[in-house]
């Protein structure tokens, strides 16, 4: 995290050390997994499109190359990249289990390429516009307020399990119109789905995760049957009843809709929860930032900038994948057709040529919107407005009602979930005082 003391800056590294790090380090290496910035910086300098043999993927570390990939969704396929990554090593067995016990294997409709992707995306977009989300603000305020009421007098919490996760899950349940009783299951389901693209599960774990996903699918299918019969005012209804134009393809098939609800439940959960944990981490470790927020909690524009800089400096998503559909040159390297790539968002956000003094939390950056934490191009995160709103409301209420946040754990002892998909703290004990 942040300016962890174990991480050297680009300036004090030398080529020999860097070359060694690149030759020996891999994303799965526990040290690199915990302190990836040094590894990223070495790659950017010496081998920006770096082949990582332990996961058989090319790691894309520069802003410009990530941008080039995002702008050419046909050459760099999400469909192939994602479905290749899914349950890597056990894919057939995984799909078989879902078909037999999970109501079906539903490929992710949104994890696809144009023109198919264009149609599906259009059908889900209306549920997520900034204006739509603005209407949700009072509800989000209420949920955040209620949760802070519960913890305010305790003086300490695990920010991951007492704040970030329950907050995200409450909001996503409410938005999707799902029954609150499934809250405990969502965290498990979410872990299970994310693990499928995380590349760090063994077979026993895959079997356990597959069982979780079966349960998740049965739940979604049952809920959707109800919504089909009776429309409601929530996002699942929007998706089940979405329509663009006429004729074939103007609505989603049942299989597509199941896969989208599943994707929303997951994509919006772990990512936003991670951002909220990072929010608390920043409040506890950067007193100047906290002070500025305390003075300006009512200033929407400043709060918006805070949220964007939080996402830039600590992107929740570690890396998402693509697969080349033809031979193509990228960052000076010739990639063969079928090359599997991982887009290292945190590396791009840390590039000093794009973001001067990248480790400085600077809400006044002019080019703040250039960060790639939400991806870019046609696959840019569809949940941006909702994610931003959740983080903003949470930040505003936290700084109004609580103060004097401090880590109750040595920064170097913070552990991260074993996945290459997100960079998520397992636990974040903090202390604080109630001020409002």
């Amino acid at each position: 995290m942040g300016s962890t003391s174990g991480e050297a800056t680009a300036e004090d590294m030398n080529d020999v050390q860097d070359a060694k790090l690149i030759a020996e380090g891999t994303l799965l290496d526990p040290f690199v997994h915990k302190h990836p910035r040094r590894f990223y910086a070495a790659m950017r300098r010496l081998d920006p499109v770096h082949y990582d043999k332990s996961i058989d993927m090319y790691l894309i570390s520069r802003w410009e190359d990530i941008q080039a990939i995002q702008r050419d969704p046909l050459t760099f396929s999400v469909n192939k990249g994602y479905h290749e990554q899914q349950a890597k090593g056990f894919a057939e067995e995984f799909q078989q289990i879902l078909r037999e016990k999970g109501g079906g294997y539903f490929p992710d409709a949104i994890m696809s390429d144009p023109p198919y992707h264009t149609r599906v995306r259009k059908l889900m977009e209306n549920a997520f516009t900034a204006h739509r989300v603005k209407e949700l603000e009072p509800r989000i305020e209420a949920v955040v307020g209620g949760l802070i009421d519960e913890i305010a007098d305790r003086g300490s919490m695990n920010a991951v399990t007492d704040f970030a996760q329950p907050l995200t899950i409450r909001i996503i349940c409410e938005q999707l119109g799902l029954d609150w009783s499934i809250k405990d299951k969502i965290a498990r389901w979410s872990t299970a789905v994310t693990a499928q693209i995380g590349r760090m599960q063994d077979r026993a774990e895959m079997l356990e995760h597959a069982a979780q996903i079966c349960e998740l699918q049965h739940h979604i299918i049952a809920a959707m049957r109800e919504w089909q019969a009776q429309p409601r005012e929530d996002m699942i209804s929007d998706i089940v009843h979405a329509k663009e134009g006429d004729g074939e393809g103007s609505v989603l098939t049942f299989e597509e809709a199941v896969s989208l609800v599943r994707a929303l439940l997951i994509a919006g959960n772990e990512t936003t929860a991670t951002a909220l944990s990072n929010l608390v981490f920043i409040l506890a470790t950067q007193p100047e930032v906290l002070a500025k927020l305390q003075q300006s909690a009512d200033d929407d524009k400043l709060m918006n900038r805070f949220v964007e800089e939080l996402l830039r400096i600590e992107p929740p998503v570690r890396g998402l994948s693509r697969m080349t559909t033809r031979d193509v040159e990228l960052g000076g390297k010739l990639l063969p057709q079928g090359a599997h790539l991982l887009l290292m968002y945190a590396s791009a956000n840390d590039e000093p040529e794009v973001f001067p003094e990248p480790r400085k939390f600077d809400m006044d950056r002019t080019n703040i919107m250039k960060h790639v934490s939400f991806g870019g191009g046609v696959h840019k995160c569809v949940g941006i407005a909702l994610a931003r709103m959740e983080i903003k409301v949470a930040a505003r209420q936290l700084v109004r009602r609580l103060g004097n946040f401090r880590l109750a754990i040595d920064e170097n002892a913070i552990a991260f979930l074993p996945t290459v998909a997100t960079r998520t703290m397992e636990s974040l004990p903090v202390t604080f005082e109630r001020i409002g």
Partner: protein, 109 residues
């Protein structure tokens, strides 16, 4: 249907005249269909990305109108390239009264 004409000046200075813009669609949608350079529209019109930013010609601005609060907050995030007549083209619904509209595509972020 049809009947709205709009001209967009691309970042390289060349103009694209969109003759078949549809009433009811957004300026962004018309521009994207016409392949106007610089209109990336990454969020698909959700007022969440500011990659559909245009500078409305001064003579047209009063007809197009001011951004609402949600759009204003998004424009503030790209303050460094913003001008007094900045708008996000996904938030401009085309109608007959806007036929003839001229706007310049903002530079990329």
């Amino acid at each position: 249907m049809g009947g709205v004409v709009a001209t967009l000046i691309q970042p390289d200075g060349t103009a694209v005249r969109i003759a078949d813009a549809q009433k009811g669609e957004s300026l962004m949608e018309a521009a994207r269909r016409a392949g106007v350079a610089g209109i990336l529209a990454e969020c698909g019109g959700a007022c969440s990305c500011a990659t559909c930013h245009v500078f409305i010609d001064k003579l047209w601005f009063s007809k197009v109108g001011d951004p609402d609060q949600v759009e204003e907050e998004m424009l503030d995030m790209v303050d460094y390239i913003r001008r007094p007549t900045s708008r996000l083209s996904c938030q401009i619904r085309l109608h007959e009264g806007l036929s003839g509209l001229v706007a310049e595509v903002a530079p990329e972020l």
